[in-house]
């Protein structure tokens, strides 16, 4: 053996993956030190998509900072909007009407399906299965069409508003969504047939990127990453917001904390999201979709165009912003990636003094060395797919 090592001189190799690489899901850059095929050291570099959203948020009123949150996790912008407006409402201390709460819950779960389905497609594509990718985009397309019917935008929706939602939903939209909800479980069965028991898939994911429950909590992981290790923590259950305390759903849990368990957890979440949407449609109450809090919410647009008082009101709120009590709040919501938190500090003016975004992708990217070191190069790709990050949210 020694003779062989002497003849063939071996040394460590440093390679660079990204920032422009199809498997890094955005502009993530990894510097890997390899010994043969084994990864000895993995250093992620982030920040290529840093746009200073926190800084920009400090220079806008609470209302006009909303579209910025679309650009965090652009795959599920609806969930970011819901997270942001929930934080602002908590700061303002206003209560949202029931109907708006249900609509938001429904829209957020639609966002969860669209995000998880794109994760499923790209993750299995990275590992080598092309078919589910094409099918997944069919479902995502339907969700995006529904978003378009809901608010006119497909990707950067900005549909929820501080105090409710922008517009009420139509019966046609509900019918179409209900048809989708009834059909979706069959589609899920299709995916599971293609992937779940697939031998190649299991070889590539079982026992890869293992993180134990204690470590996962210690690293601050949330969402599917944490539940894949078997920790039962979901913001929707622990501190319910919107209508999550009025719908029934289960939290899928993994056991081993490897890529395969995280896959199973997210597949379970897709089915649960579908279940939540179904219940929301069935239980949807009647009533207004905007809170009755004229000091904190924008007046309805038709009134602004007709009535002087409302016009002045709109003008003041847009230019100066509302008068907000001094204080600070932290509000968390469960987005598809994990726990998205907003920490807002108000100094009494119409603009947030500090808008901090606690982005789940940022935390999940930080755990990548822990998952990759000691594994093979090919498993790095499986791990990147499995942590499900969006760099827009990671870099902010």
């Amino acid at each position: 053996m020694e003779q062989i090592e002497k003849t063939f001189e071996t040394r460590e190799l440093t390679i660079n993956i990204g920032p422009q690489h199809p498997a890094t899901h955005g502009v993530l850059r990894l510097v890997l030190t390899l010994d043969g095929e084994t990864v000895i050291k993995c250093t992620p570099h982030v920040g290529y998509l840093h746009r200073g959203i926190e800084k920009l948020g400090e220079n806008r009123t609470y209302f006009s900072a909303l579209p910025l949150t679309d650009r965090l996790d652009y795959i599920s912008s609806m969930n970011n909007n819901v997270g942001y407006v929930n934080a602002v409402e908590k700061l303002f201390g206003i209560e949202v009407p029931e109907r708006a709460k249900f609509i938001r819950t429904m829209a957020a779960e639609m966002g969860r399906i669209s995000s998880h389905i794109i994760w499923l497609g790209t993750h299995v594509l990275d590992i080598g299965a092309t078919t589910p990718f094409l099918y997944a985009f069919r479902e995502r397309e339907r969700i995006l069409d529904l978003f378009e019917a809901l608010c006119g935008a497909r990707l950067t929706v900005s549909y929820p508003r501080v105090g409710g939602v922008r517009n009420d939903i139509s019966q046609e939209f509900l019918d179409e969504l209900y048809a989708f909800v009834l059909e979706f479980p069959d589609r899920m069965d299709d995916y599971e047939t293609l992937v779940t028991e697939n031998r190649i898939w299991k070889k590539r994911t079982v026992g890869i990127g293992v993180i134990s429950a204690e470590e996962a909590v210690n690293w601050g992981l949330t969402g599917g990453m944490l539940r894949g290790s078997g920790v039962n923590y979901d913001v929707r259950k622990h501190t319910p917001y919107d209508a999550y305390d009025r719908v029934e759903f289960d939290i899928p849990l993994g056991k081993n904390g490897d890529c395969y368990d995280r896959y199973l957890v997210r597949m379970g979440e897709l089915r649960q999201a579908n279940r939540i949407i179904k219940q929301c449609i069935e239980k949807l109450p009647l009533g207004p979709v905007m809170a009755d809090a004229p000091k904190f919410t924008l007046p309805p647009k038709d009134m602004v165009l007709k009535d002087m008082e409302h016009l002045i009101h709109q003008f003041i709120l847009i230019t100066k912003g509302p008068v907000v009590p001094e204080g600070e709040i932290y509000s968390a919501t469960e987005v598809p990636k994990g726990e998205l938190g907003f920490y807002l500090v108000s100094d009494g003016s119409g603009k947030p003094y500090r808008m901090r975004v606690r982005a789940p992708s940022f935390v999940h990217a930080s755990v990548l060395p822990k998952l990759c070191e000691g594994g093979l190069v090919a498993d790095v790709i499986a791990n990147i797919g499995s942590i499900d990050i969006v760099l827009g949210e990671c870099d902010r």
């Binding site: 920040g47 800084k55 909590v217 923590y233 901090r356």
Partner: protein
Amino acid sequence: MEPLQIADKIKEKFPDEVLNVKEFRGQASVILKKDRILEICRHLHDDPDLYFDYLVDVCGVDYAGKKEKRFEVVYHLYSIKHRHSVRLKAEVSESAPEIDSVTAVWDGANWHERECYDMFGIIFSGHPDFRRILMPEDWEGHPLRKDYPVKGTEKEWPGFKAVLNRAKRFKEFEWQE
């Protein structure tokens, strides 16, 4: 446990460290001196009644001209077992922007503290891998400070020219010789 009860418990254990306790919308903030932050965090993490096993977030806030000490480092803690949370705020002055790192207690603090340094220039001593994270490594200034202009500084980042030059070189490269 209720937020204020947690604050009282911290006060009981570290009476000299707690400067103030504030409550707003059902959330408690405990304002601390920065010197023994690591010890306090370790106590909060290990104590079975409190058991803050999950560090939600670490971030900085710049109170330039508003408070005596310019910066605050804000820690959000949550206990998954007991389902309670608390916010710690450590005051850091502009003249000595330095505080102990809590990475020894929670691994998750690693990147949050790096970001806090990147954005505010607060130095975390005892951090295992301390460098900028979102901005380029040779960037000057800390963007989230209140005196940093929103549109960026007048001076151009030197790395920008290097990137442009490199792009130009690649354009001139002849692929078919």
